[in-house]
């Protein structure tokens, strides 16, 4: 006990007495007045200070105080040990923290907090079963605690016991609603593949905390996966209102804007994302395809090449690179990008079709034909089908003079179209595809029995429908992270859109030279040559334009 130095006097007031019993204390030591033996320090006297530094994340000071406190109490101060263990865990020393929490549990076996932390450390060490046991023990000490239920639920997710996990998380929600619990519950349904139920959970979560951008983004991406673009856009838009820098929401919303042709708005959003995450492959891919949509092909290639540099094994980026190079009539380069994409993702019919287009332009008809055969076969095996593959093949066969095989492909295409119309009466086709198919049909003298559902509709609608058709084909990517999955499908979504538009474009290009019956050559893709006069790709000199123009003219002749 420190002797009193300058304090002259204090009045001791025994509790319970209303009046002051004045006891004058001498200067030497006021402790002497009451006790003959030295006063023992109170074990918990600095707990508040430890806590204060801990919650302010001032861990260095906190550790110093804990050290002193533990020396003073010979390691008996439970709270000091507890916080030391918490800090050790934050520093990644999980095993050490576990041991300290266990000693806390020995010092005070009636506290469920100590057991909760023991279990948490076990969980972080990956010992989920042991963690579940300790949590159950903690439940016995403290029946009503959402945290225990929540963490038990998470443990059960890791042990793949989704039923118990669901039960525990629902119990946690009953006691107290937390965003985290909603997230976890939604994740379980996604792992079980029940998107509808997951959406239901996230809807409740958003209702409970309407400004949580993570929840809003997740819900938006899930709607997107289901093709409910209106709702998806609504939630993503909300997320962006609360946090305009939300990278995931920007990417997802941007890809939807791209689908609708709002390239400038999408670009505005992407600029924000590019500032926050400058090295994101999907972002640069989408920016590239934005430029592609705006017919600024050089900028598109620049951005796609950056995306490819950042993520060299992403077949989607390679696919887009192939597509853009085909547009630029750089068939040799397109061939390389497409074959790289096929190596990484060999089970996609459209990739082979694009490769075949490239090969056709490289005068390698035999390989083009093989590639088409592969494309048709892969496309046929799928639950959905793309009539473009058959139509393009038919055109090639027709140009080769193999009218019989061409007719066969044409009929396959008819079947696919009829199937699509039957399965969904709202299916709309790109007018360019319809036009080409009609020309082809006339050339082959095939029947007029093809019913395009609503040929009167404008291209704007059809573009959306064709893209949504392709999107629905996106198979789940198999990661256990709901967001990751939704993310990639979001990224894939934008690409699929480009795919649909792009293939039709090549469909136009390809048959040009030989289709005799075509009364006039199909129009040039508009704006291709005006692309480079924007500041963002001033590097393209005007000379290139002229050359392109002459080149395309020769094609038309």
């Amino acid at each position: 006990m420190q002797p009193l130095t300058v304090e002259p006097s204090f009045v001791e007031v025994p509790v319970g007495f209303g009046t002051c019993k004045t006891v004058l204390i001498t200067q030497c030591s006021y402790a002497c007045v009451c006790f003959s033996a030295p006063e023992l320090p109170i074990l918990e006297r600095r707990n508040w200070l430890i806590h204060l530094h801990y919650i302010r994340k001032d861990y260095e000071t906190c550790k110093a105080i804990i050290k002193e406190q533990l020396q003073e109490t010979q390691g008996m101060c439970e709270y000091a040990v507890y916080v030391q263990a918490l800090i050790l865990r934050l520093e990644g020393k999980i095993q050490q923290s576990l041991e300290l929490f266990q000693s806390c549990a020995i010092l005070n076996p009636t506290s469920s907090d100590n057991l909760k932390q023991v279990a948490r450390s076990l969980f972080l060490l990956g010992k989920h079963k042991a963690a579940i046991e300790v949590y159950n023990e903690a439940t016995r000490l403290n029946q009503k605690d959402w945290e225990i239920n929540h963490n038990l639920g998470v443990c059960y997710i890791y042990t793949k016991d989704f039923k118990s996990a669901e039960e525990q998380l629902n119990m946690a929600l009953q006691q107290n609603k937390h965003d985290m619990t909603y997230m976890m519950l939604g994740k379980i349904y996604l792992l079980e593949g029940d998107t509808e139920k997951a959406i239901e959970i996230y809807k409740n979560a958003v209702e409970f905390s309407p400004e949580n951008t993570e929840l809003l983004t997740t819900l938006g991406l899930l709607y997107m996966q289901l093709g409910k673009y209106q709702k998806a856009f609504e939630h993503l838009g909300n997320a962006l209102t609360y946090d305009p820098n939300n990278y995931k929401a920007i990417l997802a919303a941007g890809s939807m804007m791209q689908t609708h042709g709002d390239f400038d708005v999408a670009m505005n959003k992407y600029r924000v994302a590019a500032f926050a995450v400058p090295e994101s492959p999907p972002l640069w891919n989408n920016i590239g395809m934005c430029f592609f949509g705006k017919k600024k092909y050089v900028a598109a290639i620049s951005c796609l090449k950056r995306a490819n540099y950042l993520s060299p094994f992403d077949w989607k980026i390679l696919y887009n690179l192939g597509l853009v190079h085909l547009t630029m009539q750089q068939y040799a380069s397109a061939f390389h990008f497409l074959s790289a994409a096929i190596n990484l993702h060999p089970r996609m019919g459209e990739l082979y079709m694009l490769l075949a287009v490239a090969l056709t332009n490289l005068d390698d008809v035999d390989n083009a034909r093989r590639s088409y055969e592969q494309a048709v076969q892969l496309d046929f095996n799928k639950c959905y089908s793309n009539p473009l593959v058959n139509l393009n093949f038919a055109v090639l066969l027709y140009n080769q003079g193999d009218k019989k095989a061409a007719l066969q492909q044409y009929q396959d295409m008819e079947k696919k179209v009829n199937m699509l119309v039957e399965s969904n009466s709202n299916t709309e086709f790109d007018p360019e595809l319809i036009e080409m198919a009609q020309k082809m049909g006339a050339a082959l003298q095939a029947g007029e029995n093809l019913l395009w559902s609503k040929p009167g509709k404008e291209s704007k609608n059809s573009q959306r429908s064709s893209s949504s058709k392709v999107t629905s084909s996106q198979q789940p990517l198999g990661t256990n992270q709901a967001l990751g999955q939704a993310m990639s499908s979001a990224a894939g979504y934008s690409k699929s859109m480009q795919l649909a538009a792009g293939t039709v474009f090549f469909l136009l290009q390809e048959p040009e030279p030989d289709v005799e019956s075509a009364p006039s050559p199909p129009t040039e893709p508009p704006g291709e040559l005006e692309a480079e006069d924007d500041v963002e790709e001033a590097a393209e000199p005007p000379k290139a334009k002229e050359k392109k123009k002459s080149k395309s003219r020769t094609v038309a002749e």
């Binding site: 006297r45 907090d113 937390h178 905390s209 820098n245 992407y270 332009n361």
Partner: protein
């Protein structure tokens, strides 16, 4: 006139809402918001700053009083100050507030900066078995070793066996007591809401209890218990009428106590530890360790959440009753103090160091004074300009600045364009050349492999775990490329 005393330094930014009145980076203060108060200690209409300084954290604890920019007085404290409040004990003239410093199990009351009173927390109940054993020891009916064995059944002992006897002899005459410590302190008006009304002290203890003390007799008027250890508290109302005590606890929950209920009435469960707790009108604003700021109603319903750019260090309320303006000051670990009205950030103050405590109120004769201490021990005094207007639109979220930053799209050179043109014209030839070269390379590789096989070099790995890797380096590639470039340009 009063401002001249602070040697006002006008801020470099004229648009700033604050005047930099004083900054002493070496004031050597180690304190928290709970240990700072502004009070008219001498009844001369001039508020002083009272700081409970934790010293080094182990020694040199002081009660410091500042007037203007200078230190007015310093009193030594016996132990670490946990909390410090100024309150009116009685309404005797002259009406000067007393200072209560909570420290360990005691509250030291100072009047006119002189020690006046010491209150000790009631002792806790002692385990009856322990009590019994010790009383036996007092009458020497039990030897130290048996005592040790008996006690170990209850709790763990820190003593080594050889020290046992001396310890028992020394302490056996003492009445056995269990003492707890104060963790937070607040004030509650007794029966009038006026500024100069008498206030009770409200204290939270490590033993998870809350006591309300009578301001004159220091008797316990009320005792309430909590499910966890209180850390922060906010008190409103009057003891004799109705009051609410909002208490943040160490288990991460916030409890709301009301008159006539010995147990918490409402509970707010947070997902991370509360670091700051402030009342705004009828709502409670909580700053959490997870870099969030939440607003709750006084019944514990969540109203809003704001995400902060850095961890919270401390919080205080900015109250200007003359202008009818209230806001929350949030000290952040990124050396900024944010001013929030509800969920809207209305102003930001940059500080030279990390702020550890904030206090806003009347200092000297200036109503809108902001006092902050920093981690490095500095003291900052700022005065709110009388012309300063806080506008909600100040930082209304417009489009992010990044939206106007141009995209860094890699530029392409003329050479690239030329090569593009060349490829357009010669795509077929280039493709064929490539295929040819590729076939040749494959052929060469196959030949090399066969040759290796024939000369019994066994270019095969015996086990699958250690595959043999073949690395072919094509040295002609670069030459070919540059050749192409040369060809390309003249075209």
């Amino acid at each position: 006139r009063s401002r001249s005393r602070y040697s006002v330094v006008y801020s470099a930014v004229s648009s700033s809402k604050w005047l930099d009145a004083h900054y002493d980076p070496v004031a050597n203060l180690y304190t928290f918001s709970s240990c700072i108060a502004l009070a008219d200690l001498h009844g001369d209409g001039e508020n002083k700053l009272v700081v409970g300084d934790l010293g080094t954290g182990a020694s040199n604890m002081k009660l410091k009083v500042y007037r203007g920019t200078g230190l007015l007085s310093e009193n030594t404290l016996l132990d670490l100050p946990t909390g410090l409040v100024s309150f009116l004990m009685d309404q005797h003239e002259p009406c000067t507030p007393a200072i209560a410093v909570a420290s360990g199990p005691f509250i030291y009351i100072y009047k006119n900066l002189r020690p006046y009173f010491k209150f000790t927390l009631p002792t806790l109940e002692v385990n009856p078995l322990e009590q019994d054993v010790w009383s036996q020891a007092r009458e020497d009916m039990i030897d130290p070793m048996t005592l040790k064995e008996m006690l170990e059944g209850i709790r763990f002992l820190m003593l080594e066996p050889q020290d046992m006897e001396a310890y028992v002899n020394l302490h056996k005459q003492q009445p056995i007591r269990r003492q707890t410590v104060i963790t937070c302190i607040g004030t509650l008006k007794k029966n009038m809401a006026d500024d100069d009304a008498v206030s009770c002290l409200v204290i939270g203890t490590e033993s998870q209890e809350v006591y309300i003390l009578d301001p004159e007799a220091f008797t316990i008027l009320a005792k309430m218990s909590l499910p966890s250890v209180p850390t922060l508290m906010d008190v409103t109302g009057q003891f004799d009428v109705e009051f609410r005590i909002t208490i943040a606890c160490r288990n991460g929950n916030i409890y709301i106590l009301r008159r006539d209920s010995p147990r918490p009435k409402y509970c707010i469960e947070l997902s991370s530890h509360p670091v700051g707790l402030v009342r705004m009108g009828k709502n409670v604003v909580v700053g959490c360790a997870q870099e969030t700021l939440h607003g709750y109603t006084q019944k514990g319903k969540k109203l809003w959440t704001t995400y902060l750019p850095a961890p919270v260090t401390t919080m205080a309320v900015l109250d200007l009753p003359t202008r009818g303006f209230q806001a929350v000051l949030v000290g952040l670990a990124n050396c900024e103090v944010h001013v929030y009205r509800d969920k809207n950030l209305i102003s930001t103050i940059k500080t030279p160091d990390l702020v550890t405590s904030i206090c806003f109120g009347r200092y000297g004769r200036e109503d809108g004074t902001l006092i902050m201490t920093t981690k490095g021990g500095g003291l900052i005094v700022k005065i709110l300009k009388r012309t300063a207007v806080f506008d909600d639109k100040d930082s209304a979220p417009g489009p992010p600045i990044a939206q106007s930053i141009r995209l860094n799209v890699p530029k392409k050179t003329k050479l690239y364009v030329d090569q593009t043109m060349r490829e357009r014209e010669n795509a077929v030839a280039m493709h064929r050349a490539f295929q040819m070269d590729l076939s040749r390379m494959r052929l060469a590789a196959a030949r090399a492999y066969v040759k290796a096989l024939e000369s019994s070099l066994t270019p095969m790995s015996a086990s699958l775990t250690e595959p043999l890797k073949m690395n072919a380096v094509v040295s002609a590639c670069l030459a070919e490329l540059s050749h192409r470039h040369i060809c390309g340009v003249p075209e």
